[in-house]
Every structure is written in structure tokens, then in C-alpha cells.
């Protein structure tokens, strides 16, 4: 089943419910009055449409159905986590009693079986949420099992493990149109680039934040990918690429803004902190304005959060040492109020995003 079509069907159902609610308010306020024939025709059309969408896409056609679906999701999330914990603890319990040759076989079989489970679920047309849950579990299992394989063979961590984890997650995300595995995969691929950089300098690949700048090229590529290649926009993936690119850039910039001595560049730690505080403010402002241009409130919110954090860091560096503490927080509060006012003025200009 095409998950994009299903998401669109659910959005259509939600719009029908919103329209019905608004129509009933308008009729009560005598803003619009339909003739009995028009009303009957409209109701019949909506009824037929909802029945068709429910039959074809298994969408939640009623508000109560949606509420129940949320309850089911929470229960299934907890249930899924409990099953995973049970499996891991069971394997821990029997691991020592299993012959040595079965260890790698079991470790390889678990992600493959979970991948087969995702495929089966997809073919049977299970709800997208459960598919996401299965896909994410498969990615998590691959992550855990590669760690376990490394422990069984006493291997020293290698940067290439990030490539294996990242590519598996991206492929699962692309195969089934799942955003969460894709996001995890993209962040892991950014981590791979950073791990390669740190290793090439003679560092330990797990200490990714020893030189956070190694994240930045991969983060920039990730952010720009939807503009460079149309395939990155399938299933509304453009937002995932940009969101992950922004996170993979802003977190290292924040680390550098706080401890500039981690920088690759030859200047002093203090100088680098100042440069990266300004760079962080600039990049987060850029993400906000790009989010406005694309009509993606997610990007705007992410950029705004980062902007506030960088602003706090910058003002702390400037004012904390000499300013009375109450005045410092008062200034921060006033600046945030000003920003809030600015966002409110910009909000009407936010273009309406067309559904994917």
C-alpha cells in the first residue's frame, strides 16, 4: 500500500470533519444556510467518500476512532518496547548456554526477521504507525546486534559501523516511506562522516565531538539534498532531510560555541567560541527564514529553539560576568518577548504548504 496515498486520505478525512464542524457553526449563526436537497446531497457525498476512503486506506473516519487509534498507538508502543526488552533479556539469559557458532547466526537473523516482518506488514496494509514501529525496531535491532557482534569478537569500535547502521536505516525508510528510520539513518550517516574525520586525525571514532566540525559538511549536504535531488522529496522526506541536516549542524555548532578549543581551526578557544556563537545565531536564523519560505513550521520551530539557545550562550558570554544576575535574566526575557512579537508579525506571511 502506498503510504503517501494513505496519509493524503487521512488528511482528506480530517478536512471533511473540519468542514462539517464549520458548516454546522455557520448554520447556527445563519452565516450560510443550505437547502435540504443541498444538505442531503452533501451528506450523501461525504458519507460515500468516507466509506470509500475507509475501505481503501483503513483511515480513522471518526473523531472517536482517532482517539481510540491514539490509545492503541500508546499501548502498542509500550507493548513493542516490552517485547523488545523481553527478547533482549531472554537472549542474555540463554547466551552462555548456546554453542558459539549460533551467536553470529542469531545476531544476523534478528534484523533480517524484523525486516521480513516489516515487509509482511506492508503487504498486509497495516496502519502506518505500526509499520513505523516495526521499521524502527528493525533498525534498533541492527544497531544492538552489531554492537553485540563487536563484543562477541572483542572488536575495537570502527567508524564504518556508522555507515552500516546509517545505510540500513535509510534503506528501510526509503523502502516503506518511513520518516523515523530515515531520520535516524541520516543522523548516523552524518556521524559516519564525523567519525571518519576524527579517525583520520588519529582520534578515537566514538569520540565524535572531539572535533565537531567534521559533522558540518555532511550536515550541509543533508540539508541541501532536497534542493539538489528530487528523489529526496518523496513521501514528504524533504522535511526529514532538512530537519536532520539542521540538527546535525546546530548541535556541533553549540558544542563549539561552548568549548571552542574543540575546533579544528588554529585560533584560540575563546576566538573560536565567539565565531561559533555568531555562526550558530546565523545558521539558526537561516533555518527559521528558510522554514518560513518553505511553509514548514517544524523547521521554523527548530530554528527558533536553536536561536534562543545560541542567544542565551552569546549573552551569557557577554553579560554574565559583570551584569547583576536579575538584570541578565530580565534582559533575556525582554529579548525573547521581542522575538515572540517578531514571529507573531511574520506568522501571517507563512505560506500554506500543499500536502505531499
Amino acid at each position: 500500500m502506498d503510504l503517501s496515498a494513505r496519509r493524503q486520505a487521512q488528511q482528506r478525512v480530517d478536512r471533511i470533519h473540519a468542514f462539517q464542524g464549520e458548516l454546522s457553526d455557520l448554520e447556527r449563526e445563519h452565516g450560510l444556510e443550505l437547502t435540504p436537497e443541498q444538505r442531503a446531497g452533501l451528506e450523501e457525498h461525504h458519507r460515500r467518500l468516507l466509506a470509500e476512503l475507509t475501505a481503501r486506506f483503513d483511515v480513522d473516519a471518526t473523531a472517536s476512532g482517532k482517539r481510540i487509534a491514539w490509545g492503541m498507538r500508546v499501548a502498542s508502543l509500550l507493548g513493542g518496547a516490552a517485547f523488545c526488552a523481553a527478547l533482549v533479556l531472554f537472549l542474555h539469559r540463554i547466551w552462555g548456554a548456546l554453542p558459539a557458532f549460533t551467536h553470529p547466526l542469531i545476531l544476523a537473523a534478528i534484523p533480517l526477521l524484523l525486516l521480513a516482518g516489516v515487509e509482511l506488514g506492508f503487504r498486509r496494509g497495516i496502519q502506518p504507525y505500526f509499520l513505523t514501529l516495526l521499521g524502527t525496531t528493525a533498525c534498533g535491532a541492527f544497531l544492538v546486534e552489531l554492537n553485540a557482534l563487536g563484543s562477541v569478537f572483542n572488536l575495537v569500535p570502527s567508524p564504518h559501523v556508522f555507515l552500516a547502521w546509517g545505510s540500513f536505516s535509510v534503506l528501510v525508510g526509503y523502502a516503506y516511506g518511513l520518516r523515523m528510520p530515515l531520520a535516524a539513518g541520516l543522523l548516523l550517516l552524518c556521524a559516519y562522516a564525523a567519525a571518519l574525520g576524527v579517525s583520520a586525525q588519529g582520534g578515537f571514532c566514538s569520540n565524535l565531538l572531539d572535533r565537531p566540525e567534521w559533522f558540518l559538511p555532511a550536515a550541509a549536504l543533508c540539508y541541501a539534498a532536497p534542493s539538489l535531488h528530487g528523489g529526496c522529496n518523496r513521501h514528504d522526506f524533504g522535511f526529514v532531510f532538512r530537519g536532520c541536516g539542521a540538527i546535525a549542524a546546530l548541535v556541533p555548532l553549540l558544542v563549539l560555541a561552548l568549548s571552542g578549543y574543540h575546533s579544528l581551526l588554529p585560533w584560540s578557544g575563546r576566538t573560536m567560541e565567539m565565531i561559533y556563537q555568531l555562526a550558530g545565531l546565523g545558521v539558526s536564523a537561516g533555518v527559521i527564514f528558510h522554514g518560513f519560505r518553505l511553509g514548514r513550521s517544524g523547521l521554523v520551530n527548530l530554528g527558533a529553539l536553536a536561536f534562543v539557545v545560541f542567544l542565551y550562550v552569546k549573552l551569557h558570554a557577554w553579560w554574565w560576568a559583570w551584569m547583576p544576575k536579575y538584570l541578565f535574566f530580565l534582559s533575556i526575557g525582554l529579548i525573547l518577548l521581542l522575538l515572540f512579537h517578531l514571529f507573531r508579525r511574520l506568522r501571517p506571511g507563512l505560506p500554506r504548504r500543499t500536502p505531499p
Binding site: I94, A108, S151, L155, A164, G202, N207, G269
Partner: protein, 255 residues
């Protein structure tokens, strides 16, 4: 497209496992990192592992001859050696920005030489307690050169490890200010820090582990087992043999 992506995801799992197996099999054919028999002094049973039956032994080592524990300074890790490992020690520790300069330096992944001290002593002085005989004596970037310098693979082991710089203006144990700040090299870890005990060797240790959890360790106890460990061509360890050691029934001697 979808089918290709699913098959590629499965191929990533299979390829990762195949590559790991081929690499491990190839590397284990050559124990160029060394092969020694370590005892409970150097490979300790874990304190607590919950319900897990997966057994890992923890490496116990000291950073230099005469060192009491891993917190002790490493005398051979001087500025010449640190420079050789890729650290920049050009700024005097007394300079005002020295702290930041040394904090900026990354932890380095290096090859460590671990010397098994007093191999014969294990037989002649069994009551030396549980003090480890595994001592870090050198480090380098090039394992071939280290092996040339320490050619005996039954006494000198080559292992991966992490070395970092510490800028110190206070004493490690007492916390008192030093007359002059200094820069020290530290061995942050031997990698891996623990070693998996595969079946059937784990069954040999399972009884000891149960007993350890039931009763306290008597002082001056002798090592109860010996493990043959090889470091492969990629300098990663694996267990090739394990035996229980005969216990003498004399009163433990307090150290």
C-alpha cells in the same frame, strides 16, 4: 525501487556479518599481537551481570612498573613520547593559555605494549595476591616498529588503547595545588576493556562466578584460573584456552 531498497537493506546486514567473519577468521590466523597465558590477576570476573549468562572478563593492568593503579602517572609517557604519538606539547604548561591549548588535544587511538611481568614468579611466589602482572611499557602509532622493539610475543602484547593529555595544576589524589602546573600523558583505556568468554570456556568459570556472588573474596587469595589469550593480526584479543589452576590449601598470607 522499493524492492531494490528492501533487498539492499538485507544485503547490508548480510555483507556486514560476512565481512566481519572473514576479517576475524583471517586475523586470527596470525597472533602477531602476542599470545600469553593470563590468570585471574589480569582477567577478573565481573562483579555483577544481572541475569545475563554472557560472560566477559575485565582486563586488569597498570600504566607502569611500580604503579599502584591506573591513576598513577605514566613515567615513560614523557613529552618526547607524547610528540611521537601525535600530541603537540610545544606550549609550556606555565603559559596562561596552556590549559586551553592542552584541553584542545584529542584522545589518541594508539598501539600499547603490555608487558607480562614476572612470568616465572607466578610459580615461585604464588602468594603475591591478586596484583596484576600486566604493565603498559610503551605506546606507538606503528605496531610493526613496536614489535621490532619488543620482539617476544609471549611477553610483550600489542593491544589497541587510548592515550590522552591531562593538564594538571592540582595533585591527583590529594587535590592540593602544585608548585608548577604540568602536562601528563595518561592511558585512558586498553581496548577492548573486557574480553568475551565463548562456550565451552564460560562453563568452567560459571561455578566460580556463582561462588563469588555467594561469598566474599578472602584476602590474599590465589588466582583460580588461567586463560590463554591471543592478540590477532589486527591487535584484537580472543580466548583460545582456559583452565582451572590447582589451589594450595594453606592459610592466605596478608599482604
Amino acid at each position: 525501487m522499493k524492492r531494490l531498497a528492501v533487498l539492499s537493506a538485507a544485503a547490508v546486514v548480510v555483507a556486514t556479518h560476512t565481512w566481519t567473519h572473514v576479517a576475524v577468521s583471517r586475523n586470527r590466523g596470525d597472533a602477531s599481537g602476542g599470545q600469553v597465558e593470563l590468570t585471574e590477576r589480569e582477567l577478573r570476573l565481573p562483579g555483577e551481570s544481572g541475569e545475563s549468562t554472557a560472560l566477559f572478563l575485565e582486563f586488569e593492568w597498570v600504566p607502569g612498573a611500580g604503579a599502584r593503579d591506573r591513576l598513577d602517572a605514566v613515567p615513560w609517557l614523557n613529552s618526547a613520547k607524547l610528540g611521537e604519538l601525535g600530541f603537540n606539547c610545544s606550549v609550556p604548561a606555565t603559559q596562561p593559555d596552556a590549559r586551553d591549548f592542552y584541553r584542545a588535544q584529542m584522545t589518541a587511538l594508539v598501539f600499547l605494549v603490555l608487558e607480562l611481568e614476572n612470568q616465572a614468579g607466578e610459580l615461585t611466589h604464588p602468594n603475591q595476591g591478586m596484583r596484576t602482572r600486566l604493565v603498559a611499557v610503551d605506546a606507538g602509532r606503528n605496531p610493526v616498529r613496536l614489535r621490532e622493539k619488543f620482539p617476544d610475543p609471549t611477553r610483550h602484547l600489542l593491544s589497541r588503547g587510548l592515550v590522552r593529555l591531562v593538564f594538571r595544576d592540582r595533585a591527583e589524589r590529594t587535590g592540593e595545588p602544585l608548585a608548577q602546573p604540568r602536562v601528563e600523558g595518561r592511558i585512558a583505556a586498553v581496548l577492548p576493556g573486557q574480553i568475551f568468554v565463548p562456550p565451552p570456556h564460560n562453563q568452567v568459570l560459571a561455578g566460580l562466578l556463582r561462588r563469588d556472588r555467594a561469598e566474599r573474596d578472602p584476602p590474599g587469595r590465589e588466582p583460580r584460573y588461567a586463560v590463554t589469550v591471543s592478540w590477532d593480526a589486527d591487535y584484537q584479543p580472543w580466548i583460545s584456552g582456559l583452565r582451572l589452576l590447582p589451589q594450595t590449601n594453606r592459610e592466605p598470607t596478608a599482604r
